[in-house]
Symmetry: C2
Subunit: 350 residues, 2 copies
């Protein structure tokens, strides 16, 4: 985190209906629209982590018996399936192997079989594998084959690191997290709902199963003409997000994407030079999250513990079937710099 | 907030699986057990506000067709009913007029009619009315008439302000908020589940409708022998809570209760002397939240705006049918002092 973001977390508090705070909240929502590249009025930080955003996207739009098409090529696609089931809805999966992106053609074939699907969800940046799925291509397929289906995009690890353009990609609902490329402490989930997605939330036949995440109710607090109490906003976290977004826009989205791209490519090229094998398919590699297979004979836990305790560097291990076989190296937000890349390369076993 | 709590919010971050952070989390849970006065192993801060705690208490324990007995004498009792319905469960209400506590005899009569109730829920400190419901008396009634029913207690505005004794009051599930008497920024909900409550969560026939609030899954992250990833913990908020709890225990619970009691009684006596009429029934008045009827001819919004903008003092207005007719004055945590009482009294219209 940048020190200015941390300092903002420690600002004196106001009430959650204080005009000063409400002006800050309105500014946050406006900055989020710029970062999501959307005109969506209902764009705001949800009072929970990215997983709460995932849940909000689904519980507000699905009802018992609905069909949801879910793109699955990693842990977070699986999590979407799990939450769909808890909504009493049916999951139709479009799969790709871990390390590969979802094929838009595969999605098209599934959409032809399920044109009545209520929504289609995909993960933009699969944090478990380092793979980017292509929202523009997926969005086109959905609009062509199932124009009434909502397009739900998980942008937890992509927002403010690689281009996320909600409106031009036909995304109806997007959720993110603060602790990835936004470089703000974890705890909030920026979300955005298109007008037609919000209309679906308000015209459903049963109330959503989550009162806490009910966007119809939260929308009445966000609306300056109503400001109806729903729950107490997490003021300090929002002050931190405000400063983090200010820094993102001060740098500029294009410059920020370039910085992430440059740092990620540098790391990936250097790793290849050193004989490491990258895991994610070429052409779909995220710059902000590099997945690399463990070299033969390297002890996963020993290396990661040594990095953490001796160098203060944390890298992620593999998840699921790739536990002990993969490293996941983040270069997100403030960390997406040449200096950080070099520090890590110096510390890695050669 | 005390400046030390705000400073803790700005500490450099660690990962959510970093051993340093996990030790802090274990200490938080241990301190929460002391503050809740419980031996419950499953005691932790949920990653959402008090309303998320309310939802977690119900969605983890109720299934479709269950009956829940809800004590209702204010806004937060109504909210419990709303969430029960969203679980597909049936609500049986035990009511008291706003300003009056729930009668244990009324609860006993309802329990005799619904001995099969899966749970009974009550709000300890009704923030909408300034009334205390008696957890010891309600807990005895529940154990006597429906020993299998779980007792759910809302301690959002009571924890660390007035005595909350989970184990001696037979409370099975309790949830609170950080921004009331704990004097920590809003954003977390300390919760505690008894062993039998947790067993119910794990033996339900259908998965709980909320993945984010599923305590079976969260329990696997909290358990040092598993530490299974569920969602990213809100690190900064937890650093703030750690410092806040340290301050609470450093003062001592009894001393803290005395301080709240003294400040609240001083305010209530002075208001009566000045001709104000207290709203909450005598004998059930919360010290940390004083409700008072507006004197004739006083303009609610004008006075509260003047206090906020000229004196930096925020008092709450009435909710629901009492909008414009009631003030709700909080003296919680750091604010429960004679100095704060005197500053308010000097600023109020005489």
């Amino acid at each position: 985190m940048h020190p200015d973001v941390l300092s903002a977390m420690a600002l004196p508090l106001t009430g959650h209906l204080d005009p000063y705070f409400l002006a800050i909240l309105d500014q946050i929502n406006e900055m989020l629209r710029t970062v999501f590249v959307t005109q969506n009025l209902l764009t705001f930080p949800l009072s929970g982590t990215g997983s709460a955003g995932l849940e909000a996207a689904l519980v507000n739009t699905l009802e018992t018996g609905d069909t949801a098409v879910i793109c699955v090529n990693g842990v977070f696609g699986e999590r979407l399936c799990e939450v769909v089931k808890r909504c009493g809805a049916r999951v139709e999966r479009v799969e790709a192997p871990w390390g590969q992106p979802i094929s838009p053609d595969d999605l098209a074939r599934t959409m032809q079989r399920f044109p009545q699907a209520r929504l289609v969800a995909a993960v933009h940046a699969e944090t478990s594998t380092g793979v980017e799925n292509n929202p523009a291509a997926l969005g086109r397929v959905i609009r062509e084959h199932a124009p009434d289906a909502l397009f739900v995009l998980d942008a937890v690890t992509s927002l403010a690191g690689i281009p996320v353009n909600l409106d031009s990609c036909h995304v109806d609902i997007c959720y993110s997290g603060t602790q990835k490329c936004l470089s703000v402490p974890p705890g909030l989930s920026p979300v955005s709902f298109s007008e037609r997605a919000f209309a679906r939330c308000q015209t459903r036949t049963t109330p959503t199963q989550s009162w806490y995440l009910d966007v119809s109710l939260i929308g009445r607090y966000l609306d300056a003409s109503q400001r109806a109490y729903h729950h107490t906003a997490p003021i300090s976290a929002l002050f931190g997000l405000h400063e983090g977004l200010r820094r993102v826009l001060n740098e500029g989205l294009e410059a920020r994407y370039r910085r992430h791209r440059a740092a990620g490519e540098r790391l990936q090229q250097e790793l290849k030079k050193r004989g490491y094998q990258l895991f994610a398919a070429e052409g779909a590699r995220l710059p902000q999250l590099t997945s690399v297979l463990l070299p033969d004979g390297v002890d996963d836990a020993a290396v990661r513990n040594k990095l953490l305790h001796e160098q203060g560097i944390e890298i992620g291990g593999g998840l699921g079937a790739y536990a002990g076989k993969l490293w996941r190296i983040g270069l997100m937000g403030e960390n997406a710099t040449d200096e950080v890349v070099d520090r890590l390369l110096d510390a890695l076993p050669s």
